[in-house]
Symmetry: C2
Subunit: 344 residues, 2 copies
């Protein structure tokens, strides 16, 4: 078989403010691959099906001198993130052609993976769509499930405020909170998203662009738990609206990622006065074998039974990556952003 094109999406330059499709990142077709003869060196050849586009990717678009919790993207190299793929060929006895896997992959159509330590076989007994495994049954779902389980200390009857409540993490958090018997206040950036939040059971759903967060929390708070995906002025509002001993789960601060001058939070004395506990977390720290088993035993089944409802915002083709990233950074996506490279 002749070599075929192996489309890739590359990191091109460090953005200032919002990333610009075609400038910050570029689609590239210069590489080819011969699927039958490419050497595997004991590894596996994966065909990418779906890539996840996540808010945190903005933090990796930085100068390499700037330290952070995950390594920066390298200029001229493909972006990378969680993906679902199918094994085409294998020289590793743990995998066979036709197996589906969840892995952290470079943004390219085909990749040879020799280090398979973090390539996870997906059983998918529940027969949910493969794309779910980069969303509700993937890293965003793990973030919601384990963050809530480990840090919320939720008690029935308490009130939680969830930001990005229509998004892949926030919408799962909101539903887990409802299942736990909590009152859920949740915000999102469009009336369409507000409608979706109402549909999944959010008690007080509001559009933060047209409704004042401070007033909503004054009316419907105080809050016992704050799930933070946005930071900035919203975090400030949550600090003022917190009950004593409230728990703040710091999952992300997307309102700040594209700001050249970050927002200054002025009311941190609430932390002392209200004895708040605030925990930042990155889900990969908590993916122990026990937690991973718990997650995969629980969430795909809940999805299959319709107990967890969520949206996917699919774009087709690796050339759409730049656009998808910008949508996620600016809140234009409606549901979990997925790049579908191939259906099977």
């Amino acid at each position: 078989m002749a070599p075929i094109k192996n489309g890739r999406h590359l990191f091109n330059e460090v953005p200032v403010g919002y990333p610009v499709p075609g400038k910050t990142t570029v689609y590239d077709e210069s590489e080819t691959i011969d699927l039958e003869t490419v050497p595997l060196n004991g590894g596996i050849l994966i065909k990418a099906l779906s890539f996840s586009i996540d808010p945190y990717m903005r933090g990796k678009m930085r100068a390499p001198t700037k330290k952070s919790y995950s390594p920066p993207y390298a200029i001229g190299e493909p972006l990378n993130n969680h993906a679902v793929g199918v094994v085409l060929r294998s020289e590793n006895p743990s995998f066979k052609a036709g197996d589906h896997v969840w892995a952290f992959l470079p943004f390219q159509e085909y990749v040879v993976q020799t280090n398979v330590a973090h390539v996870k076989l997906l059983e998918n007994k529940e027969n949910i769509p493969w794309s779910n495994y980069v969303g509700a049954a993937g890293m965003p779902g793990q973030t919601a499930y384990l963050g809530w389980k480990i840090f919320s200390k939720a008690k029935k009857g308490e009130t939680v405020f969830v930001t990005t409540g229509a998004g892949p993490v926030g919408s799962i958090v909101a539903q887990l909170a409802k299942l736990g018997g909590l009152k859920v206040i949740a915000s999102a950036g469009s009336d369409e998203k507000v409608e979706f939040m109402k549909k999944i059971g959010v008690d007080v759903a509001f559009n933060y662009k047209t409704t004042d967060t401070v007033k909503v929390l004054e009316e419907h708070g105080p809050i016992d738990i704050y799930w933070d995906n946005v930071g900035g002025a919203t975090l400030e509002a949550a600090l003022d609206a917190a009950n004593p001993y409230a728990r703040f789960i710091e999952c992300g601060m997307i309102s700040q990622y594209n700001q050249t001058s970050p927002y200054g939070v002025k009311n941190l004395m609430n932390i002392v006065g209200k004895r708040l506990s605030i925990n930042g977390f990155i889900v990969s720290d908590h993916m122990t074998p026990e937690n991973a088993k718990d997650f995969y035993d629980t969430i795909p089944a809940m999805i299959a039974k319709g107990e967890l409802v969520f949206l996917e915002d699919k774009k087709y083709g690796l050339d759409k990556v730049g656009e998808a990233i910008l949508d996620v950074q600016s809140g234009k996506n409606h549901g979990k952003s997925v790049i579908v490279v191939a259906e099977e």
Copy 2:
């Protein structure tokens, strides 16, 4: 016996910015008391020996409409705080004349206490000075001891940054950290305080008014634990200097108490990226019988043996309260601020 003067120090008006002695609070001699005939109604008559002057008192000098963790002072009424006193008369079988007690008392020379639920008998087997029981062996010492014990998760070889390192809380924290095998960086507001911090074993002692905190932490950090008594820009510097998984103990934010426009902290994204845990605490929440026993079994003995060194800044007479409060708010006190009303 004829009635005698019962001097008091009253809250007079809500301050804007720093409290003004003689204006915010005033000394008053209009009351008298007959120590022999004043009715006890089943309670005890206490003669005050020493009152504690603490940073947090500023938060109680507020309009009553403003909620906070401790009730506001009432205009025209005496201030109140932790004190050591001696029982003059008793109608309660748990107390007898001559007993020494630790109690939350109004700022007056003599007081009849009918509710003795929170009056603690002091045994003082170690024979340390009574004034210590409002300092290292009182609330500030409890704050340092229990805050460190519960929230620091300190491990030998780690680095802690302690603010107000010459003060009644910070100096005890610094010494507990040294005893635990940590490297201690500590800040204070004068060269005299820096000398004292060096004397108690602080590894990197600096005057934050003449030395840049950011630079000190860049050179001697990163830090695993931050003991916050000051908030504002110092908290911001600590967030940047924190190691992943660092613990922030939020005990106070004195840099903010007298500001009409609080400082905006801009780098809270560190909480997520570094998976920080930040806990606000008020020591009274943690004074369970077990913790109280642990504290009184441990700290007075350490003081008596010279294992904990600290300074007391004594002022004599209830007329000096306003001045002492301002000194504490502006950092002019050198050691634990105590108002001595009587030696015995």
